[in-house]
């Protein structure tokens, strides 16, 4: 299974589920990352935080948290 860290720059992916605690989940959901949502990778250097585009805004997400976001690449 792929997580958000596996998505390369410019690629798009759909969120399948978030494999994290309640708090992490809620934080992501209120920023627009929830199951079914499509995100586009803006910047992923392979280490450290990455930046995705979702619902018209740019979010930076820490590496640890990004690993918990399970996605399906489109």
């Amino acid at each position: 299974m792929k997580n958000l860290c596996d998505v390369r720059d410019g690629e798009e992916a759909a969120v399948l589920f978030i494999h994290g605690g309640r708090m992490a989940q809620q934080r992501l959901v209120e920023l627009g990352i929830l199951p079914g949502e499509r995100v586009r990778m803006f910047h992923n250097s392979g280490a450290g935080p990455l930046t995705v585009r979702v619902k018209g805004s740019k979010l930076s997400i820490g590496h640890g948290l990004a690993q918990k976001i399970i996605v399906r690449e489109e």
């Binding site: 209120e30 910047h43 280490a47």
Partner: protein
């Protein structure tokens, strides 16, 4: 003319939605606005009289939701639930509508009367997109007003709308979010149970409680547990959750969020035309470089360096001019007032003390201007991104960077409060614990004074940059140690919005510079003045009779040594001796706990009192240079001590309040900073001497 009534209006909205700008436009209040999350950490109030109503506006912290996961969300939610404002104005970034309206759905669930301000509506038009405001108002069930906060457009319309809505001339409907049949069924079941039980505080809408129980909201669960029959209802709610989880194979809170977004997309699809896919091409191009794995950090360092270079280079002539002017003023006062207590009070106590702090006013203004530029452009959030990797290694994360940054050149008090945006208590405590290490606006004069006196001007900016670097290093190492030995455990997650870059407006920058600069002046004219007078009195009393045959200079120094302040200094001298300092420095450091500028004003008073011949009076900088007890090594040790030691009283009080309140952690903070400061200064001074530096 009599008032028709009083209204309480709360402003809610996402960070970066321009909420604080609108608050300022409406109230004319002078307060801080920044293009980065977490600026409004405490609610702020302002007043405006409009159409015979006295409207109290409350600016709530910027939040993405009301789920109360962090302190700032709690503040916003508690206010809306407990204070029951007459109207909540939701400020939404119209150029980023879907995400912004998520908060709106939660406000409506709370059944508060909402007026929606669609801010930055000009950006939408410029993009060639179009929003049908009438239609969206109907679909959302609230009055909608387009605004452009930074151009001050739509403010009158917004106020009219607020008053009309209050007077009942405008209709607001109930927003029916369709949660779907499955969830709807469970909701009405819980709703019924809640309706039959008594003792639910009237301020909580039943339906909202039901939704929150399905979302497993800890705060609401606690409320329900306290009403008669509450535990049984909670049990039912748990059953519903289990049922829904089985049905959807996902947590109910995720499904509910999904339904809220579903409602929003429906509204947007019906009222918004999208002729062009939204793009921030320039922002993207800048981000590709600024966020780059290899370039990110060097760019960040370069930006910081540019700020210091700019500040020191350009402020130097102004600082020299002002110092000179203050010197002249001192000479004039000495000449005009006959010798005695009054002359000493004015020349040594007031001009000697406060003058030293005021002399750095131009420097502070330049620094505020540079920092404001950095904040308003939107780079701050990028800096947090870039720093996340480093912060992570030391047990913090990118979000902790913001409190540190606010404290740098600003003040540790809002810095400590900004740590409210962190989700996790441990992260919060660590961040609060290291925030006071930053060089705040009050510490800046100390550094400017000693660097100016002991390091030639070409080295000045570099030395300053080095000290800032040192403050970050000390904060990071402390964080690491605290994490390792005191606050063990996982740190919470880092997720933050990167707002589009904006070109700061000159008026905005000047306003911000002036607001902060004015605070600096005000502090110098009030608190610093008061403490300077106390310090002067501490050195002047009790008056001693000079012994026979004593030279004037010997008499002056004997007076200082045997005064109250002198005796206190002598008392702590053994503790600071190993750091190369004497009793006078000890007094300055002790007094500095009241407010950090006081270190400078106290030294000013001491050197002014020690100078017998008023004609010889020289600026503090020159006095320090000419004093044989000072040398660059001692100055460096002194600065290291000032960098680390005890936060000022106000910062400590805020730390106490924000940490729980916890006396334990406050005492720990005092202990920790004292030990660290002493050790740091000891290593610098004694190490430097071993290496052959200094006297």
């Amino acid at each position: 003319m009599g008032l028709k009534g009083r209204l309480m209006v709360a402003l809610a909205g996402n960070p970066n939605s321009g909420k604080s700008t609108i608050f300022n436009n409406l109230t004319g209040a002078r307060q801080h606005v920044g293009n980065y999350p977490g600026v409004t950490v405490e609610k702020k109030e302002g007043r405006v009289v409009y159409r015979d109503y006295e409207i109290t506006l409350v600016d709530l912290p910027g939040t993405y939701s009301l789920s109360a996961n962090s302190e700032d969300e709690m503040v916003a939610r508690d206010f809306i639930v407990n204070e029951k404002p007459d109207i909540v104005v939701h400020i939404a970034d119209a150029s980023n509508l879907e995400r912004n309206l998520y908060l709106y759905t939660q406000l409506k669930e709370l059944e508060t009367p909402v007026v929606l301000a669609m801010n930055m509506s000009d950006i939408v038009e410029r993009r060639g997109s179009h929003i049908d405001y009438g239609k969206i108002s109907g679909l959302l069930g609230s009055p909608v007003i387009p605004t452009v906060g930074n151009k001050n457009r739509g403010m009158k319309e917004l106020l009219d709308c607020i008053v009309d809505f209050y007077e009942g001339k405008l209709e607001g409907g109930k927003t029916a979010i369709d949660y779907g049949e499955e969830i709807g069924l469970e909701l009405s079941k819980l709703n019924g149970l809640l309706g039959r039980s008594s003792g639910i505080p009237a301020e909580y809408p039943l339906k909202w409680l039901a939704v929150k129980m399905l979302e497993n909201d800890a705060w609401v669960n606690k409320i329900v547990a306290q009403i008669p029959g509450g535990p049984a209802i909670l049990l039912e709610a748990e059953k519903s959750r289990v049922h829904l989880k089985k049905h959807f194979s996902d947590d109910p809170e995720v499904i509910i969020a999904d339904r809220r977004y579903g409602f929003i997309s429906g509204v947007c699809a019906g009222a918004q035309s999208r002729t062009a896919e939204e793009r921030h091409e320039l922002s993207d191009k800048i981000d590709k470089i600024v966020l780059n794995r290899f370039l990110g950090l060097p760019i960040f360092a370069a930006v910081m360096y540019a700020i210091f270079k700019f500040t020191f280079t350009f402020s130097e002539p102004a600082v020299a001019w002002l110092e000179n002017l203050i010197g002249k003023l001192g000479e004039f006062a000495s000449a005009a007032i006959p010798e005695g207590l009054t002359r000493s009070f004015v020349a040594d106590g007031i001009i000697g003390g406060v003058g030293g702090v005021l002399g750095f006013f131009p420097l502070v203004l330049f620094m505020f201007f540079a920092i404001a530029f950095f904040e308003d452009s939107g780079y701050m959030a990028r800096a947090a991104f870039v720093m996340d990797r480093i912060m992570h290694k030391f047990g913090l994360h990118g979000k902790s960077f913001l409190p540190l940054m606010i404290s740098t050149n600003g003040c540790a008090v809002p810095g400590i409060m900004a740590s409210r945006t962190l989700d996790n208590k441990r992260d919060r405590l660590i961040t609060m614990m290291v925030t006071p290490f930053m060089i705040c606006g009050a510490k800046l004069p100390i550094f400017a004074l000693f660097i100016g006196a002991f390091f030639p001007s070409e080295e000045g900016a570099n030395m300053m940059f080095l000290m800032y670097g040192l403050s970050v290093v000390i904060a990071l190492i402390s964080a690491w140690a605290l994490k390792k030995f005191v606050f063990k455990g996982e740190s919470s997650h880092f997720v933050m919005e990167l707002p589009p870059y904006r070109v700061p407006t000159i008026q905005g920058l000047l306003l911000k510079m002036w607001e902060r600069g004015w605070l600096y002046l005000k502090k110098a004219g009030t608190i610093i003045l008061l403490i300077s007078i106390i310090i002067w009195a501490g050195f002047t009393f009790p008056e001693i009779q000079p012994g026979d045959g004593m030279s004037e200079e010997a008499a002056a120094s004997a007076q200082m040594e045997q005064s109250f302040a002198g005796r206190a200094g002598k008392f702590v001298e053994p503790a600071v001796r190993p750091l190369g300092m004497d009793w006078r420095d000890g007094v300055a450091l002790m007094a500095g706990v009241a407010a950090k500028e006081v270190v400078v004003s106290t030294l000013g008073t001491i050197y002014s009192l020690g100078e017998v011949d008023p004609e010889e009076a020289e600026p503090l900088k020159a006095a320090l240079q000419n004093d044989p007890s000072w040398n660059p090594l001692k100055a460096l040790a002194f600065l290291v001590f000032c960098l680390i030691y005890l936060p000022c009283f106000v910062a400590m009080a805020v730390f106490y309040r924000e940490s729980g309140p916890s006396l334990k952690w406050t005492l720990f903070l005092i202990f920790w900073t004292t030990v660290l400061a002493w050790s740091g200064a000891f290593i610098v001074y004694q190490g430097g001497r071993l290496l052959g530096f200094g006297g």
